[in-house]
Symmetry: C2
Subunit: 352 residues, 2 copies
């Protein structure tokens, strides 16, 4: 398909509703579809999705649809001025061609996609699809499990669009050594190992010296409940009541969230990734890979938020997480946990 | 009071429980109180709060309390290894003297304070109190209304302490001109003004050009529901159904949150501060002061989250907000709204 800007401005045309589409005759197919990738050819005419018709009305290329100009068109179907139209107009303005992800209009659209966005400057059928895009308003919750295959455009209350790239990461690091045997005491919401092997903290980065900076790096180590439950479950930590006592305490202070965090923690450790608390970032964990010693940790590359597999996320919360992660040069991973299974979702900023 | 480091290390002493305090005799008063600001003199002896006794046991200055060494002391009352002790030890290590904020131990403690922290290097009674500090574990919710007079130390699950400064800001900017009269149409979750006076957007920064960057800055303006409700309430915006129709739509999409946001929005505008959406920062608003024209906006200095006056906040959420704000060089204000009244709370990072 050859896409070219016209050198003359022909007069605007009229369209008319045909079911839930807008039909335009005359030379619309050549002017709008062949040259600018709007709509779907229908004989000698052109069928437009409402968002495409709205955009052509907005641009002045269409005069009216069944007598409605742009304002009347929007007022009669206000959803067209909502999320879809604003993202469509924004991406067109940024130099992208995009097509509604309707069955029969583009090949194999993912079920939750609203648009196929083609590589900048390319039309449909030229260089594949750059982004399958789902568009929502900032107040719509999104099921986390539906992300990963589509990117997300969020239209905020003022009509501005923020884009998020989503994917399915595979956390991976160098395999970690088995932890040394330890004996601990459950104290309120942590476990103290009074006489740890130096490698427990120093090489495997379990726990922190008791009393933090005031503590002795070779002295007692305090473990978080999730660290302690993991070590007790794998048999490395002995304590009164065993792993069950730690998990029971964890559930008492965190509810179901504790088991989900423990599952995500174990999945990361077994992938060679060391999770530590993400509290300073408002996350569940920050992560380190290729850990050989606490004194030579690399930059923590990812933050992790743990969610139930069926969780919905609010775009505003996503925006907060992703903006924060960008500011500290980290990726943001969501661990979607169901029973012992973890599916990983990554969300990042996308600046089209 | 003269505070000096001892040049010799006298042998550790023993203490014994006296009610909920620990009494130490001998030269404890001179060694621990006069020289290092622990406890409260009691005749020739010294009374210590449990957290102080735990710290002296941890340091090896006390040998035992009724036979319990540090480990046994903590195991017998595990709350002492919790939030309070870890923050106490951390601040001592950083060079601060601090005292439990108990009635009779320090003057006029705010009701929710746990510690009086004195200026670094100063003892009690020398240079006043640098911080009234409340200490919580990361899993404890905090009533927002109790902040503002105390700073907050949060002990995370790994025992590390993060500090937050809190205060009561007064948002203030140059008075804003009255908005021009406008006529709008409610479309889904926004209002479009088809033919606005240029000052509506260009000088007073209401709304955005319809379709954002694709739009015409001198053309139609889209207002958020909160902007439209504010303008309609003040009489500047006419539309079918009036302010009530906009607020009704706002409540339909946001619930009670809409009215709270409208109250905070109005309070900011009447203080000469222009609120715009804070979506990109996961906040309710970002704010501008001294706005003369959209083309010459200064740096937005504060993010705003709107909460009910009786809201509790989780330390992890606070941590996320404050960390984000630090990364973008903004302050974080919480608008605590009850009816038409707004109390402002500011929370920032504190690095002692």
């Amino acid at each position: 398909m050859r896409l070219s800007a016209g050198l003359v401005y022909p007069p605007p045309m009229d369209g008319s509703w045909a079911g839930d589409l807008v039909r335009v005759g005359g030379d619309a197919r050549q002017r709008f579809h062949d040259a600018r990738a709007y709509g779907r050819p229908d004989g000698s005419g052109l069928l437009l999705a409402p968002v495409e018709a709205a955009h052509l009305l907005f641009r002045g290329d269409l005069e009216a649809v069944d007598g409605d100009g742009f304002a009347a068109f929007l007022e009669r179907q206000p959803e067209a001025v909502g999320a879809g139209f604003l993202a469509y107009a924004d991406l067109r303005e940024r130099g992208y061609y995009l097509a509604p992800a309707r069955e029969g209009w583009v090949a194999d659209p993912p079920p939750v996609a609203d648009f196929a966005v083609f590589p900048r400057g390319s039309g449909p059928g030229e260089n594949g699809v750059a982004h399958w895009l789902r568009v929502v308003g900032e107040r719509e919750s999104v099921a986390a499990a539906t992300l990963g295959d589509v990117d997300l455009g969020v239209v905020d209350e003022e009509g501005e669009v923020t884009y998020f790239e989503t994917g399915r990461p595979e956390p991976t690091g160098e395999p970690l050594a088995a932890p040394p045997a330890a004996r601990g005491t459950l104290l309120a919401d942590r476990v103290v190992v009074w006489d740890p092997a130096p490698s427990l903290y120093g090489e495997l980065f379990f726990g922190q010296p008791l009393a933090g900076r005031a503590g002795d790096p070779a002295g007692p180590v305090q473990l978080s409940l999730v660290e302690a439950a993991h070590l007790a479950t794998t048999g490395a930590l002995e304590l009164a009541g065993g792993a069950a006592a730690v998990s029971e305490r964890g559930r008492a202070v965190e509810g179901d969230r504790f088991d989900r965090r423990l599952t995500a923690y174990a999945a990361l450790r077994s992938a060679g990734v060391v999770p530590k608390t993400g509290f300073k970032f408002g996350a569940d964990f920050r992560t380190y890979v290729d850990v050989e010693s606490v004194s030579s940790l690399g930059h923590s590359v990812a933050l992790v938020r743990v969610l139930p597999a069926d969780a919905t996320v609010s775009p505003r919360e996503l925006s907060l997480d992703v903006r924060l992660a960008g500011g500290v040069r980290k990726r943001y991973w969501y661990a979607l946990v169901e029973g012992d299974a973890v599916r990983w979702l990554e969300v990042g900023r996308l600046t089209p």
